[in-house]
Amino acid sequence: MQAKATRFFTNSAGALLLAVALAMFIANWASVGLTQPHDPVFMISMRNLFWIVGAIALVVAMICLFGEKIWLKITLVLWLAANLSAYQIGILWKGSHAGFSVYLNSLAEAFGITSHAAYLILGLVFLYLLVGSSASLLWLWMDNTGGYLKNVCARCGKHIEFPAQGIGQEIACPHCGAMVTLQKPAGASKQGA
């Protein structure tokens, strides 16, 4: 249950971040030649901010979709979501909250939506990432034994030992190379630690 939920979250987070990154790149491409306003927090051009945030989101998305370490995935998502939450606080502090959607104008126009809708969609995405990553991390931490578990490879029948936080990952069997999804064994006993 935990493995499935965690995997669903990391996959969905990866897909959403990939979509956000692509949207930002397309928005920059669609508005090429135009000067964008400076964002109210860092005072850098929104075009540059889109490149930076888009690149970071793309890296995190790739790790979420193709990485192995579940802890790393969720921690990165939480880090990114937390940073963007801090950015929101910065906007509030600067007093630009009422009109921030206008800074997303190039993004909105590229996808034929209003800038308010773009602001709302981005807000919901990062809220989901923040809540989801926080909950997943808490869940993993509470369930984390710190010990090792064992699975049996369905192809060669040999044992695979792995850390408990590796549940849900798909790895190549170290003996025969077949892809194995690591699962919590029924009635598993903690080892080591």
Binding site: N11, G14, A15, L18, A19, L22, A23, I26, A30, G33, L34, T35, P37, H38, P40, L65, F66, E68, S96, A98, G99, S101, V102, Y103, N105, E109, A110, F111, G112, S115, E170, A172, M179
Partner: protein, 586 residues
């Protein structure tokens, strides 16, 4: 390691599947937005084609009998000086100045020698004398073939040149220094012979003011309401005339009759004063009493040339169903084209319905017009030239003005179309043609010349046109955009402050004044300016940030490699495309 990673990526079907789905979703959404936009399918091509029409710059210089003409026109990357055999139709590019780094005044044509065997033009070189100051060169060419016969390095502050004789010329600098150059008889080389410094106080007030040779040994120039002359043989300068009861617009000098002709205006209108060399008044005539003239009058939206070449004849009226470039300003309540009347020909740049801007020669004898050089360098494939509808409208002050309206192509009954409205001179502009092909009305009321005080009626004039256009059931009065360039934006700003609720947005080209946004509800604003003006970058980006702080999006296009006035086809095209994009989004 990379192979292992790739293997893992490929073997991770979930991740790969999600990546493909997201890619298809985002890119598909974008493509759907492009496909469903209100802009015509080939808007970019249309804008590029119209924006690529090369405009004419500076001035044009026909020779005495009208068989040769030197003119400047935009090239792909700058402005070129062209020599045209008006009879044979051959055009030769003499030189090209790339846009970027050149101030627009530093490139010009200097005209024909008194015997019309030579002509000259000035170009800045890529050699720097001081930081920000390039070496300047006068190029002297053969008047029949256009071949270069001499190149003379001159003062970089050169502003005006006057031919004293076929073997000598003088020029004046911004600092009012006059240099005299002569061709050595034996070697044929050109050399500076004399210098007169600070011939009058201050800097030259207006680059348009005349500086003419009155003989082989004297020049005259205008400074405000005064005409001054400098005699090289005695090194003395003398005030020829000071007008204190009327405005001296400019003057010309006839070396054949040795007379000054002053073009003046007062409360009663426009008139000419003929003076002898000493400044004594010989004659005063009204505009229409002259022996030989050509002028242009905009009559209720139709340009009409009045051409008179014989003293005892009535002027010939020639209707020109298109725009004519305004290069010299008004004489009377119309534009004087006297200086373009050579032999039996009248030269001008303008456009005809269904044709882009071109250089024209009108034959007074047979009434035929011939396009010597077209602005169209490549055939139009997707775009078309939209024919405007002309007329007259009376403003709230009771003044009648001409207007032109470019209607959207394929207007459907019952459909509403947005409107762009402005007051600007009726000359060739790419914007109305692009707007009409994007489904916009583009309406302009003709703007008076700078010296006409009614130019301050900008708001009243535009409102009169707006009231007229608002009665058109096809005009969407909820989507009316103001359009203004340069100094016009000052007037436009007043109109926005007075009636902010009428306008959906504004299109500002090189604005001198930025709009007050405090009382304007969610407007759409598009600004174009040259990025080579450092002060503009700071001013406009701060304005954009301020507007964003108010929740107002300002589309800002800071164009690299250009200043206040665009000076290349590439620059004009890029502007037109961005303009078209803005229209498509609104």
């Amino acid at each position: 390691m990379i192979n292992n990673y790739l293997k893992r990526v490929i073997s991770n079907r979930t991740g790969l599947g999600l990546t493909i789905i997201v890619l298809l979703f985002v890119v598909g959404w974008r493509l759907l937005v492009i496909a469903c936009s209100h802009t015509p399918p080939h808007w970019r091509t249309i804008a590029r084609e119209i924006g690529s029409i090369a405009q004419f710059k500076e001035d044009l210089y026909p020779n005495k009998d009208g068989t040769r003409v030197v003119f400047s026109q935009e090239t792909e990357k700058g402005v070129g000086v062209f020599f045209c055999d008006a009879d044979g139709g051959k055009i030769k590019l003499l030189c090209e100045q790339r846009e970027g780094g050149y101030s627009w005044q530093r490139f010009g044509m200097l005209g024909w020698s008194p015997d019309y065997k030579l002509f000259a033009y000035a170009v800045p070189l890529d050699r720097w004398l001081n930081p920000g100051q390039r070496e300047e060169q006068i190029v002297i060419c053969d008047g029949l073939s256009g071949k270069t016969v001499a190149k003379v390095s001159v003062d970089p502050d050169l502003t005006k040149v006057a031919w004293l004789s076929p073997q000598s010329f003088a020029y004046i600098t911004y600092n009012q220094d006059v240099m005299v150059w002569k061709q050595r008889k034996r070697s044929g080389e050109w050399a500076q012979s004399r210098t007169y410094t600070n011939i009058t106080s201050g800097r030259l007030e207006a680059i348009e003011n005349p500086f003419v040779a009155t003989s082989e040994n004297s020049v005259a120039w205008q400074k405000g309401n005064e005409i001054w002359a400098l005699d090289f043989s005695t090194s003395t300068r003398k005030k020829i005339r000071e007008s204190d009861t009327n405005n001296l617009e400019r003057f010309i000098y006839s070396r054949e009759s040795e007379e000054y002709r002053l073009i003046c205006s007062d409360d009663t209108g426009w008139f000419f004063i003929d003076l002898d060399q000493q400044g004594s008044v010989l004659d005063v005539t009204r505009a229409d009493d002259r022996k030989r003239y050509a002028y242009l009058r905009d009559e209720a939206g139709v340009n009409t040339f009045y051409i008179k070449v014989k003293a005892d004849s009535e002027p010939t009226r020639v209707f020109w169903q298109g725009a004519v470039e305004d290069r010299v300003g008004p004489v009377g309540d119309y534009l004087s084209t006297d200086k373009y009347l050579h032999g039996n020909y009248l030269f001008f740049t303008g456009d005809l319905p269904n044709q882009p801007v071109g250089l024209w020669r009108y034959n007074i004898q047979d009434g035929m017009s011939r396009c010597l050089a077209s602005g169209l360098k490549h055939p139009l494939v997707r775009a078309s030239i939209v024919v405007p509808r002309g007329g007259a409208v009376t403003n709230a002050l009771g003044k009648q003005m001409s207007y032109h309206v470019w209607e959207p192509v394929n207007v459907q009954a019952g459909e509403k179309y947005p409107l762009i409205i402005t007051q600007t001179p009726y000359v060739w502009l790419a914007y109305p043609h692009v707007a009409a092909q994007e489904g916009y009305y583009f309406a302009m009321v003709s703007r008076p010349y700078w010296s006409d005080k009614t130019i301050y009626n900008w708001s009243a004039d535009v409102m009169a046109l707006y009231s007229m256009m608002a009665k058109n059931p096809n005009v969407d009065t909820n989507r009316v955009f103001l359009f203004g360039s340069s100094w016009d934006t000052d007037f436009l700003s007043q109109l926005v402050s007075e009636k902010p609720d009428l306008w959906k947005g504004a299109i500002l080209i090189n604005p001198s004044t930025l709009l007050d946004l405090s009382s304007w509800h969610n407007p759409r604003i598009f600004i174009v300016a040259g990025k080579d003006q450092a002060s503009e970058i700071d001013r406009l980006t701060k304005y954009q940030d301020m507007a964003a702080g108010l929740g107002i999006p300002v589309k800002l296009f800071l164009q690299k490699g250009t200043e206040h006035i665009p000076r290349s086809v590439a620059t004009e095209r890029e502007r037109t495309v961005q303009f078209a994009r803005f229209l498509g989004e609104n």
